[in-house]
């Protein structure tokens, strides 16, 4: 479980933050930099988290693992795998992602609609805040409602509220049985079937439509997986498909056009947008390769109750969907209260934060 590279570099990180606070230098929090394409660029002194690494504690029967932020995500997955456990939210690695970056970006993989997001599995964090202290929120227990839930607030905050140094995550046993299948049908039909199946207790744990075929992953006990396969039919699909989808290695992602992520209610009908679409998360996440204007795409997606993120770096100034004015005001208030000097990843999420 332990690697020769494991080290507690918390004091050094704290010292660098305190220097930055003293000198009013903004910090660019840097783990594996595997998601550099996402969000706005940060101008600041680099705060490299990767020296602070290793698994602090892991007891499979407690279903909890506590990890330092600089630990490579792949290393954590391997350790869990050795005990037949997993992070059900399937965070993508995009090469060299670290655990800290996984929390800060909050990105989840194909199992997300059925199992929950990265944020859903966060139990506790240690964070260096704008006060220049390492503080602990949440803990290592499944249920904990003492104080405000700052741990889950950190998930998806892109480092703008402080630096995550350590995280405790809920983990789960791997399913006993998994089988992937693929069925030929068009997008409209696939979305209808998914909405219908969603109301039934079927063991679906991933569902993606590429324009021609619906790919499904069935996970559970032997009985339920076999029964679902008998009922749904289809050709057996290699399980590596899901990792290729999660890591953006499918040929869909190669096309030389901007990439957009559309997050919509899962039963939204097929959206008539220029370019090509890949439907993931059983309909709730749509990938779009398109040269269309951001404002146009956003108008269409907002119309169905969703939002749009631009995954092509530098294409537009606000890759994350702009917030309504009142909501942005409370975001600014929160940032100012937790990071009064604007030290941590200024501008990564929004120019105002």
């Amino acid at each position: 479980m332990h690697s020769a590279l494991d080290r507690d570099a918390g004091d050094a990180l704290l010292e660098q933050v305190n220097q930055a606070l003293k000198n009013a230098t903004p910090l660019w929090i840097h783990g594996g930099n595997s998601k550099a394409f996402l969000g706005r660029s940060v101008t600041g002194e680099r705060l490299d988290t990767r020296a602070h690494r290793g698994i602090v504690s892991y007891d499979p029967t407690e279903l909890v693992v506590t990890v330092r932020c600089g630990t490579p995500l792949r290393e954590l997955s391997e350790v869990l795998s050795a005990s037949q456990q997993m992070m059900p939210c399937e965070p993508p690695s995009f090469g060299d992602a670290t655990v800290g970056g996984m929390i800060a970006s909050g990105l989840s993989g194909p199992r997300r609609p059925w199992a929950g997001s990265v944020r859903d599995f966060v139990l506790g964090t240690r964070v260096i805040t704008g006060q220049g202290k390492i503080l602990r929120f949440g803990g290592e227990v499944m249920k904990n409602v003492a104080g405000y839930d700052l741990s889950r607030l950190m998930a998806g905050s892109f480092g703008t509220l402080g630096m995550i140094t350590e995280v405790s995550l809920k983990v789960l046993p791997k399913p006993r049985q998994a089988l992937s299948i693929s069925l030929e049908m068009d997008s409209e039909r696939a979305l209808l079937r998914l909405a219908e199946w969603g109301q039934q207790p079927l063991p679906i744990s991933a569902a993606c439509h590429d324009g021609q075929r619906l790919h499904l992953r069935l996970e559970g006990g032997e009985g339920s997986v076999t029964a679902a396969h008998d009922r749904l039919g289809g050709e057996v699909l290699d399980a590596s498909y899901w990792e290729d989808l999660n890591e953006h290695r499918l040929s869909f992602f190669d096309e030389d056009l901007p990439l957009w992520r559309l997050s919509v209610p899962h039963n939204t009908p097929w959206l008539p947008l220029p370019g090509r679409q890949l439907i993931d998360w059983g309909g709730a996440q749509r990938w779009l390769k398109s040269g269309a204007e951001a404002a146009f795409i956003r108008r269409v997606v907002e119309g169905v109750g969703g939002h749009v993120t631009c995954y092509s770096h530098g294409l537009i100034d606000s890759p994350f969907q702009p917030l309504p004015e009142a909501l942005m005001r409370y975001h600014r208030n929160l940032k100012r209260r937790l990071d009064p000097q604007g030290t941590f990843n200024p501008g990564r999420l929004y120019a105002e934060l």
Partner: protein
Amino acid sequence: MNILYDEHVDGVLPAVDKATLLQALQARLPDLEILHQREELMPYECDGLSAYRTTPLLVVLPRHLDEVQGVLALCHALQVPVVARGAGTGLSGGALPLEKGVLLVMARFNSILHIDPAARTARVQPGVRNLAISQAAAPFGLYYAPDPSSQIACSIGGNVAENAGGVHCLKYGLTVHNLLKVDILTVEGEHLTLGSDALDSPGLDLLALFTGSEGMLGVITEVTVKLLPKPQTAKVLLAAFDSVEKAGRAVGDIIAAGIIPGGLEMMDNLAIRAAEDFIHAGYPVQAAAILLCELDGVEADVHDDCQRVRQVLEQAGATEVRQARDEAERVRFWAGRKNAFPAVGRLSPDYYCMDGTIPRRELPGVLQAIAVLSAEYGLRVANVFHAGDGNMHPLILFDANQPGELDRAEALGGKILELCVKVGGSITGEHGVGREKINQMCAQFNSDELTVFHAVKAAFDPSGLLNPGKNIPTLHRCAEFGAMHVHLGQLPFPELERF
């Protein structure tokens, strides 16, 4: 240290003239129902933590959202504290009123606005009862998963404010895991939507922050929850053990076998006897502990899992393993557990329910320590335990009519919570801090952490008018509390002045 609001340590509240406020409310909101006579206010003196009571200045019972907005805007302008309340079933005094504050009762917002079976969502007003959502979704084969014991009465707005749990949390999560969208009004009466109808929303995850924030950051006006397809089947195994240690180890063994039960509950001998006397569930009254293990899902998987769990339980030294033969027996097994609190209530004039969580491996040691404390304080303690997720509910038996017993029960409860923190757990798993555990927050968090909590509060409610005194203690309170609990000769918060 009394838990009722104490301006000396909890902060001075603005003085409000009741007649002026009443007039101003009546003038601005002529249709708003306002209670102001002493006998009208009395039913609202407490929530589910009935040992503590305060008469509110006024009670308002709005029927329309613009009335809620009007109340908030006016109270903000006049600097009057506001305490929001749902069904009032909370066990931590989160809706305990203030003598100088308005109690804003949201119970009349009890409409289910829309059940969308294709989207698997329910959009409801905050006063809708938890169980009513599942009942409305049942015709579509869907249900709302979190099921606190009070689900027949508690409202969804309160569930969000407390991040309520239940007996199925390990597999299905807490309230926070089952929400899509919450509409709130800020202290100034400004409307915000947190979350969305999609699985995520842009910006910071304020939905997560608001869930469990105990009415301190805003007032919930609408909630959209996720619905799940009803499991095809559910089976329950009951296992008896001759020691709580063995029962505790069996829980770990089930999980080590790769099985996540829908529910996994433990009761000790005193709780078993009380429940059996009350419900006649068929529990083995000689057992030191029993485990109830519910497995739900698709028929074939549940059947296999029952076999596996039975084997694990037998290997772990269970003296008896019984599977409920039919639905009636399954319901009876659960009825014993779900009525454990009132059952224990029959053993004693009063009981005090604790809500600490611990890493499961610490269970034997913690139960032993509780037994020692129980003897030391001369009060009996029955233990019911959401064993799957480490959430303990020790029930302290006492008689409030005996001078000093409530104080002793409170002190014993405090010791149990501090023990939970010491072994790496938390002072509250699902009931919330409210007023009840305000002092123990000082044991769980240091002054820097509490300062960050106050900063979060200030980002949404800088003048501190929403539910003052709940959830997060002032540093002064912790200093006073610390002075009474000097640990190894060291005062916590040594940097603070003491009065």
